[in-house]
């Protein structure tokens, strides 16, 4: 408790003085001084005992007066229900919104990662020295980094691409399971203990020895009914038998940025990566891995980076063909995971902080009004001997009772709102599974509540002590100036929020206006997983994958017969689905590039009829036909961006280029550009290759259907059609193109919705504040208005007076708000698409909106002032 030390010191001094005075008296009565002092101490009956008795009284009195204060506060609030409910509701909304958003931000951004010593975990990337772009890691590079580095206690890799088909038992259809290949100590590095069974052994991480799998908890439950005896059992995956050695704990997640692996981070099962030792050279050419490393206890990130730089320089010298210009970037895992969303979330947190400030200002205003009304009560209490600190505590208790109720309401609102917020979160936000109103959030809410209470509770206390000092004279000026300042602050904050919301809304609108480059309506898509008998066991070469073409043709034949299907086609990487691939190419007749440099473009295997089905225009030449098969001329269609980049004004039609398989392919057409990676991402160079002529296996093609009916209604017929071709082809990711486009704008949509909601709330609260302060001013100046009108002022003149005063408050608030918006504009600039952070139209419209709302808020008090009867108001005062 405050003042406890002072209390103890004073008590000690007082008692000593008591004893000495007592002794002095005894001396006066004739006792020798030393006897007198001893006798006085004896009569005191023990210093500590006396002190203890006084302390008892003190703590008892404190508790008693505290409970008195609380009871008093509750009583007053009950008596002023209107005031109390407005205050509590405002606070509840403010605190509730803060709690809900904080629970999201906390889980995504602030909570430590769910691994031991998470701040020692790094992700390692290959990083282009030219433009700083990150790429996945080549398996052979990972091998060398692990062998040669000295700063890490462990380094592990995960290849997130393998897929497995779990062969159905009996009549059940086959299931596609998403898998990942991991180096043997991947789980040990993360500090994960198996729920059942064991981790991978080092000797299982070798070629031909890796027919073992670890299941995720969900897979164990779903496909193996959670039975404990599955350890050691074998499961048929892709036609090979694998032995189950372990099951991961229920809460295990591999936390990652969802854009890293095309939204793959929840895996059904894991298999040892089994890198050959040493790895063959071609493993330097593809870059599929994500590499994790755990720093040694004494090592710093800088040392690790220096260590890796040394190794990278070495590799560059040894393998210039693959590693020229490629460095290593070490990024802490927690920073890497949230790199894309950090800015947006912090902007949201700032927005709700502002909302809470407005709320506090409003409640402070309400309390001030009451403090003025209660001026007489307070003066009376002071006159009756209540100390200033006692009064301050009384008022403070009232404020804190208010906030506590508001905080409780806010918590309830947050409990109700969080599940809804989670449902509307953008799909690519990491770690959303952990979002909950938990202990951390409760602590945050309590702290915010207490802070809010102290913040606005101070206003009436300051006012009361000020008015006591002045002994009740001239109390009007102080609080109305303070109240004016509070309203100015509210207007300013509301304008900042509105500006942010309006530019974000405009940006979202512009984004959704962007044409994806194809006709996105009435498209249904689904992803197939072709069992191994169709994929020819990983052969590389053009024209050897006839089984795939054949099964695709059989599927298309069935699907095209579904009533309502206009056309159908296959593609490997659907636009806006997150799936993608880049390939290097060489154009015939051009000088070879130096080692490590090559031209590359996005690689798009598509089947015949793809351009027609998607509605992608062919600008020149032709699209693909059924004749572009294994036996036909090898052909290619490039997009406009590729033509521009690599041929400029020249005509690419008839030119030839080749990939790694060294077969020449002739450019026969130029397709229109599409937005493959997002509506806000400009089209990149793309090259389309007929499915039948691709050199590599594509086991997971996507089928696209253009429908004459509502696309969703064909989902079930599509499943049936595919099952009728082969029951062992799993089908998943059934969705519409519209849904994919909508998902791709999930983040801007979410943050715009949140900020818009908050800014409207802020506008409402600020207008309430303005209304309150103007009503109060009018009441105070009624007498003045009466005199003015008695002296001949018209109603209009009185109204002008009021509006003039309001205009000053709102004007200053707006000026401050615009300045604030300008300051904050840089923070949100990166979140916007196609609109400046200080957009003129947006600024003009929110300023107008705010002015209109202010006008309405001021109109009612002004009318009351003008309509008041001058005689009446003069008599009353």
């Amino acid at each position: 408790m405050f003042g406890k030390r002072k209390f103890e010191c004073e008590l000690d001094e007082e008692l000593r003085s008591f004893v000495e005075l007592q002794a002095a008296e005894k001396v006066r009565c004739g006792m020798p001084p030393e006897d007198a002092l001893r006798e006085a101490w004896r009569e005191l009956g023990g210093m500590e005992q006396v002190k203890e008795k006084v302390r008892d009284v003190r703590s008892g009195a404190f508790m008693e007066s505290l409970s008195q204060d609380i009871r008093y506060a509750l009583r007053t609030l009950r008596r002023n229900r209107g005031f109390a409910s407005i205050a509590i509701l405002t606070l509840g909304l403010g605190i509730g919104a803060n709690t809900a958003i904080f629970s999201v931000v906390d889980s995504v951004l602030l909570k430590p990662l769910p691994y031991p010593e998470p701040d020692r975990l790094l992700t390692l990337w290959e990083c282009s020295r030219a433009d700083g772009r990150f790429d996945g890691v080549a398996a052979a590079n990972f091998y060398d980094w692990r062998e040669q580095s000295r700063s890490f206690s462990r380094m592990a890799a995960i290849d997130p691409y393998p897929d497995f088909i779990l062969n159905g038992a009996g009549n059940a259809t086959a299931q596609r399971l998403s898998g990942a290949d991991v180096s043997a100590d991947f789980f040990a590095l993360l500090g994960t203990r198996m729920a059942l069974g064991r981790d991978f052994l080092p000797e299982e991480d070798r070629p031909e020895r890796n027919q073992v799998v670890i299941l995720s908890y969900a897979t164990w439950q779903r496909y193996f009914a959670g039975r404990a005896d599955i350890l050691g059992r074998s499961v048929p995956l892709n036609g090979t038998d694998y032995t189950i050695v372990g099951v991961l704990p229920r809460d295990f997640t591999f936390v990652t940025k969802s854009s890293d692996y095309h939204a793959r981070n929840q895996f059904d099962l894991y298999r040892p990566m089994a890198l050959p030792s040493p790895p063959p050279e071609w493993m330097r050419g593809t870059h599929p891995l994500c590499v994790l490393a755990r720093l040694k206890p004494q090592a710093t990130q800088q040392q690790a980076q220096a260590d890796l730089d040394r190794i990278a320089a070495n590799l560059e010298r040894l393998y210039p063909r693959f590693d020229k210009g490629i460095g290593v970037a070490a990024v802490p895992l927690n920073r890497h995971v949230v790199a894309d969303v950090r800015g947006a979330l912090l902007a949201l947190l700032a927005a709700i902080g502002l909302l809470l400030l407005i709320t506090c200002a409003n409640v402070a205003n309400l309390l001030l009004t009451r403090a003025v009304a209660r001026g007489r009560e307070i003066t009376l209490r002071a006159a009756l001997g209540a100390s200033r600190s006692r009064l301050a505590r009384l008022l403070m208790t009232e404020s804190l009772v208010l906030t506590a109720s508001g905080g409780l309401l806010g918590l309830l609102l947050a409990y109700a709102a969080v599940p809804a917020v989670v449902r509307h979160l953008p799909a690519d936000l990491p770690r959303t599974g952990e979002i909950a109103v938990d202990g951390r959030v409760l602590i945050f809410t309590s702290a915010v509540t207490l802070l809010a209470g102290l913040l606005f509770g101070l206003a009436p206390v300051l006012y009361a002590s000020g008015s006591l000092r002045q002994r009740g004279r001239g109390i009007a000026g102080g609080p109305s100036r303070l109240r004016g300042a509070l309203v100015i602050g509210q207007v300013a904050i509301a304008l900042i929020l509105l500006t942010g919301a309006s530019v974000m809304a405009k940006s979202l609108w512009k984004l959704l206006q962007v044409s994806p480059g194809f006709r996105s309506g009435d498209l249904l898509t689904a992803r197939l997983s072709l069992p191994p008998q169709y994929t020819n066991h990983y052969q590389f070469g053009t024209g050897v994958h006839r089984e795939i073409s054949a099964v695709q043709q059989r599927v298309l034949d069935r699907v095209r017969r579904i009533p309502g299907v206009e056309s159908a086609a296959f593609t490997a990487y659907l636009p806006l689905s997150g799936a993608d691939n880049d390939w290097a190419f060489y154009v015939e007749g051009r000088p070879p590039k130096p080692p490590g440099e090559f031209d590359a473009a996005h690689y798009r295997p598509v089947g015949p009829g793809y351009f027609e089905t998607m509605g992608i225009p062919i600008e020149r030449g032709r699209g693909f036909t059924a004749g572009d098969n294994e036996d036909g001329l090898l052909v290619i269609v490039i997009n406009q961006a590729m033509a521009r980049r690599f041929w400029g004004a020249a005509n690419p039609l008839g030119e030839r280029l080749r990939f790694g398989d060294v077969k020449w392919r002739t450019i026969v057409g130029i397709a229109g550009d599409i937005h493959h990676d997002g509506l806000d991402v400009p089209a990149a160079p793309e090259m389309y290759v007929p499915y039948a002529q691709v050199p590599n296996v594509e086991a997971r093609p996507t089928i696209v259907l253009r429908t004459a009916v509502e696309p969703w209604s064909l989902a079930a017929p599509l499943r049936r059609a595919i099952a009728s071709v082969d029951r062992n082809i799993p089908v998943d990711q059934i969705t519409t193109m519209q849904q994919l486009i909508s998902n791709s704008a999930g983040q801007p949509r979410f943050r715009t919705a949140v900020v818009l909601t908050f800014s409207l709330l802020a506008l409402f609260v600020a207008s309430l504040g303005l209304y309150g302060v103007m009503s109060y001013l009018v009441t105070q100046r009624m007498q003045e208005f009466g005199i003015r009108m008695a002296l001949g002022a018209t109603h209009a003149a009185v109204m002008r007076l009021i509006f003039g005063q309001a205009a000053r408050i709102v004007g200053i608030g707006m000026a401050l708000g615009l300045a604030g918006a300008a300051l904050l504009s840089r923070a949100i600039a990166t979140l916007l698409y196609g609109v400046a952070a200080l957009d003129g139209l947006a600024l003009a419209s929110v300023t107008t909106l705010l002015a209109l709302v202010a006008l309405v808020a001021v109109y009612f008090p002004a009318r009351r002032a003008a309509q008041g009867d001058p005689i009446e108001s003069l008599r009353h005062y």
Partner: protein, 110 residues
């Protein structure tokens, strides 16, 4: 005879303290001495009762305290009645008189 049950006499002690302070401000020792004087030595107030009472009464707003210098130049804490304290003294005195009258007549009755 000194009182043995301080709780019994709490109201009494409060009243005696208020009464002692009615004329002038005093430190704790002065109050103890004054109580002994005005009760003709019937009440000998111990420190263990006096100081808790003083603290309680100050907190209730009947007394205020300040640091001053005693007659022996010793720094001491002085107490003074507040307006509320004076009011309290008046009402408590009246109540006490009523009670003692009633007690006296009750004891005289046969």
């Amino acid at each position: 005879m000194p009182p043995t049950e301080p709780e019994l006499l709490q109201g009494t002690l409060d009243l005696l303290i208020l009464k002692s302070l009615a004329l002038e401000e005093m430190h704790g020792m002065g109050i103890a001495r004054r109580v002994a004087q005005i009760t003709n030595g019937a009440f000998e107030v111990k420190a263990g009762s006096l100081f808790p009472a003083l603290y309680r009464m100050e907190h209730a707003g009947w007394l205020t305290s300040f640091w001053g210098e005693s007659e022996t130049k010793r720094r001491s804490k002085f107490y003074r009645l507040t307006a509320a304290g004076r009011k309290r003294l008046k009402t408590e005195s009246a109540r006490w008189e009523r009670i003692s009258l009633a007690m006296a007549s009750a004891l005289r009755a046969t």
